[in-house]
Symmetry: C3
Subunit: 134 residues, 3 copies
């Protein structure tokens, strides 16, 4: 089964989508399988991270801000804004697709794992996430 989800992000940062993905698995209705999540963009990405302490997410976002900073004079691709080129770098370093087994009818995530859409652009965006379950 395939569902295309539309996710609205409020701007830069990690936005949890575990519930939306789980909803597709529930609709699918099987007990055992594989769920693949794919993001149709090059300036946001996917990451599975700790869903407990928000400070872990803030530190992770800050690491990417340091590793691939905005307005780095080394960039030549600047026509789409200071936040565009670092977006592509951060997307390449994280994931465009994630595959999560389904066990007992649910995503086999660990206790502390959440699935996040990692928005790399400053302004709010409407993002398309395709979920495949079989």
């Amino acid at each position: 089964m395939i569902r295309a989800l539309t996710i609205r992000t409020p701007g830069k940062g990690m936005h949890e989508i575990t519930r939306e993905i789980g909803g597709v698995v529930s609709e699918w209705g099987g007990q055992e399988g594989l769920c693949t999540v794919f993001v149709r963009h090059t300036s946001c990405s996917l990451v599975i991270q700790e869903n407990a302490d928000p400070s872990a997410r803030r530190d992770l976002e800050a690491w990417f801000d340091r590793a691939a900073p905005e307005s780095d004079p080394a960039y030549s691709h600047t026509a789409e804004g200071a936040d565009d080129m670092p977006s592509h770098i951060r997307a390449a370093l994280t994931a465009v697709s994630l595959s999560i087994p389904v066990m007992d009818g649910r995503l086999a995530l660990g206790t502390w794992q959440g699935v996040y859409l990692f928005e790399h652009r400053r302004s709010p965006h409407t993002r398309q996430v395709v979920v495949h379950v079989s």
Copy 2:
């Protein structure tokens, strides 16, 4: 269905293989499914990136050149050449496998997404890419 593709790369940089992957999906012939791409090497990798402005790819390649430079005195694994150890680091930071949903008989890539074989070695190489569609 599985197909093993042979891709010749001209040396370091991102080499687009979207058409080759799409060819396997067309040959498969189904409407809805999942296409997984896997690279059988540890000194090249896969990345989905912007297929429009070449400056974005050049900046991305340059970022990896800075983050995992050749001839870093910190490396001890130097017997296979100055470009070998950075190749392994760049491969670990990007992807060895990518899964892309198939919708309406085609890869469900976004408008600006292209699939690239990211060659990390300086000299031309012959690379094997395995494509699974089901």
Copy 3:
């Protein structure tokens, strides 16, 4: 078929699990398919790397130690130990899921590819790895 494997790691570093994954593929018994490996944690991850020269693994581990160091004063998430926040960063930069085609009844890995559980915490841990084959 789904199998949940329990892997004991001796602490920080790359721990090869190719044989354990291959064992699930053998038990499955099919000739052609796709094997997906998923790690149920946010402080360890998966990586496919060179299985020949151990110096490549040591250099790779050392690169991550430099890129996401322990005890960086920039971290605010420190309650779980100095090795916790870098663990999350290293996990985000590598992989939580990997999909490897199965050909002729075996993982279609390249000659020099091994599958590693990359433990990011200092102390020994018991980790859960879910393997799906179909």
